[in-house]
Symmetry: C2
Subunit: 444 residues, 2 copies
């Protein structure tokens, strides 16, 4: 008799952990992902801000599972799940399962305004990160060409929406790019005049951390020329900036050519096809053992699962996905052996967010740290979790290099350059410009 077939949807932390935890189980594993690589998402903002290369934080899923004889990898897009027939519908066929682990994660939510995504890209994939990198570095090029001071300021103003860990990390890095990385590269603009606005609807930054750490993070952001605007909700986004609503109801427009989105949570649309109750963000309300109601052979883990432990919701972080994936694998092994199902227990190993060079906040149990020690901790933990020795080693070196030199090695603008301001602006800022005579630049 053939061994049971376990299909895992998603090669992120949850899916990959589940696959590896089944290495010695009497099952056949098929891991389905529409990308060929696992992505170390916590460091994605470092690619977006040119400190790391895509391949430093991404690794082929096939390579991770190459030595696991009972696993195979399928590059495919899962479109739906039929729990009654026990099949997954792919873009071009169907895949039958005995057990299913759904770990397709979540993305940012534009709160019903999906058209904002063109003007304010989010940060979930390598492509997103490269698009943000392209926009950030092109903004400086555009500012260098722009004659009108107000228009130039809009190019040097960066708005980050959402002050969770991703937003704080992005904003901190954007501040440092102007202050250190590009400080000497331009002639007509002064990159240190960069303005970074971190806009948050809630009353404070890093809502998941203690208020004390939030305050420390704000101070650290301030030193990087990041202006934090809490109690400020975004009501419109277009190519020229954002419109916000303040706590007192007043509206205000912020002119900024670069807007980045790091707010909200929207579950993968696959959840809806399971036909079980979802929460407001579209996540699956799972049973205590992470299976779905009525179908003990289907598990949902990671960001796609809405589950609570000890009366608190399990946060949508790597640790939650890793522990969930491991738990699902353990339940499958229990079913096939003589074990019994058990409820999922989440162990909070702490939260970390980095603000920039030698600055981070860390909350581990009741203790909280900020500053250099927290940064060191963040650094060691992230290196440790990166899959594959090569990545670990190269990321360490890249960071050591960035730290020593204030440089960011990967600041390439690839893809389409698109429209920049007409060049008649060059030389307008007399102080930094080269003497204009003899090089007449005239608009056509």
């Amino acid at each position: 008799m053939a061994q049971p077939h376990v299909v895992i949807l998603g090669g992120g932390f949850g899916g990959l952990t589940a696959a590896r935890a089944l290495a010695k189980a009497p099952v056949r594993v098929t891991l389905v992902d529409r990308r060929n690589h696992h992505l170390f998402q916590p460091l994605l903002y470092q690619v977006a801000t040119a400190a790391l290369n895509p391949s430093d934080i991404a690794y082929p899923i096939r390579a991770v599972l190459a030595k696991q004889a009972n696993a195979r990898v399928l590059l495919a897009d899962a479109r739906g799940i039929d729990p009654v027939r026990r099949v997954v519908t792919l873009d071009d066929g169907e895949l039958a399962y005995d057990y299913l682990v759904v770990a397709t994660g979540a993305t940012h939510s534009y709160f019903g305004h999906d058209d904002w995504s063109t003007h304010a890209p989010g940060l979930k994939s390598i492509e997103d990160a490269l698009e943000i990198r392209r926009r950030v570095f092109l903004a400086y090029e555009a500012a260098e060409r722009e004659a009108d001071p107000a228009a130039q300021a809009a190019w040097l103003r960066f708005v980050v929406v959402g002050a969770g860990p991703t937003g704080v990390e992005l904003a901190g890095a954007l501040g440092e790019i102007g202050l250190h990385t590009l400080a000497k590269d331009f002639r007509t603009i002064d990159p240190t005049r960069v303005e970074v606005l971190l806009v948050e609807g809630n009353p404070r930054v890093l809502g998941g951390f203690t208020p004390k750490l939030g305050t420390a993070a704000e101070a650290s952001l301030g030193r990087r020329h990041v202006t934090v605007r809490c109690n400020t909700k975004v009501t419109a986004v277009d190519a020229g900036g954002v419109e916000v609503q303040l706590a007192d109801g007043r509206r205000e427009r912020i002119e900024a050519r670069t807007v980045l989105w790091a707010a909200g949570v929207k579950a993968s649309p696959l959840a809806a096809s399971l036909g079980v109750p979802l929460d407001g963000a579209g996540r699956v309300k799972v049973e205590g053992d992470l299976s779905i109601p009525g179908h003990p052979e289907v598990f949902v883990v990671g960001d796609l699962a809405a589950c609570a432990f000890d009366g608190k919701p399990v946060p949508g972080v790597c640790q939650g996905a890793i522990q969930g994936g491991r738990h699902a694998a353990r339940m499958i092994r229990a079913d096939l052996g003589s074990g019994k199902r058990a409820p999922f227990r989440y162990k909070d190993k702490g939260s970390l967010a980095t603000i920039g060079r030698a600055s981070a906040v860390a909350q581990i149990g009741a203790r909280s740290h900020h500053g250099f020690f927290a940064w060191l901790l963040w650094w060691v933990i992230h290196i440790f979790y990166l899959i594959g020795f090569k990545n670990r080693f190269f990321v360490m070196l890249s960071w050591a290099w960035s730290w020593l030199t204030f440089q960011r090695g990967a600041r390439l603008i690839t893809g389409e350059v698109g429209a920049l301001p007409a060049i008649h602006g060059i030389g307008a800022d007399g102080a930094r410009a080269l003497p204009p005579a003899g090089e007449t630049i005239s608009p056509r």
Copy 2:
């Protein structure tokens, strides 16, 4: 009186060398490029074959010139030159010059069939390299899904057109990817069954090297499962393969889903706007001092210049561009001081091409080398010329890693995945497939 304005078009080896050689001259320099980075083109094939990251071989032009007070960088697309009015037309304005150095290079020529470029991408930019990388690694994914043996073979067959250094290097790397890098990653296909065809219209590979080295390169390619087909001209290219004409006039079709182009030379279209005689490939026939006829203030250097030295044409390689850029700068300095113009003298420092792991060919003056020693030489020289310590250091480590482990770190598929074969093919190859029962995969 303002200092003379030197405009340099192109931030490749020629343009960048010219800019740096003018650092201490009494001039103002504007370097114009439509990209923000200088590209170390000789190693571009390593990005295309996933051994290196884009930022390992590309460096922001601004950063290269950040400390040169008399130089500024302009991200712009030069559209034409008016040597009479002494202005460069940009995409959105004009730039006046006193001296002009045109170093915009050349690209591949599809011999009048530009529509082939969709099916057979060339290798000139980072985007090209990433597109080739995407196609190569997607081909393996497609083969893994394909049931029909002939269709599967077409996915595992790679055709490289043109057996100059770029073609030889690409073909060698493609052979090694199947033999070593991916050998263990797939379940239904055997990646070592990969076929690489290197198609060349001339009677032998590496026409610029001695026949002895050509033979050595062919033998080395054979050990990497590369089939060399000389005297074979490509007469048609489509999505499914190429049609070729053999020496005896017979035509033959080669079914291959991945075709890469490394043949021909076509000069940058900017050359035509100078209004001076061009050669067959569209290159500018320059004077002995690299200026253009009738305009001693305009120089053309690098791949865009057609010039001869010692009765032989100066080859379109880095050394030619670097020496040309330096010469143009020297002529400008001579004009402004009391020096005199002098003819350009090309010093051939030798030619190198690498075939793969521990194998290369080198021709230095009358001496020629092949095998491990030539490879070591190639390695040292390429590291040495990479701009910026960081790159040098990281490339060295990346290579050391690849060499020790047979791995290629950057094999990410980014961008659109597109259509792959329907998944009903999975499990067709019984020998390597997991047991098919219980995981019924059916086409819709």
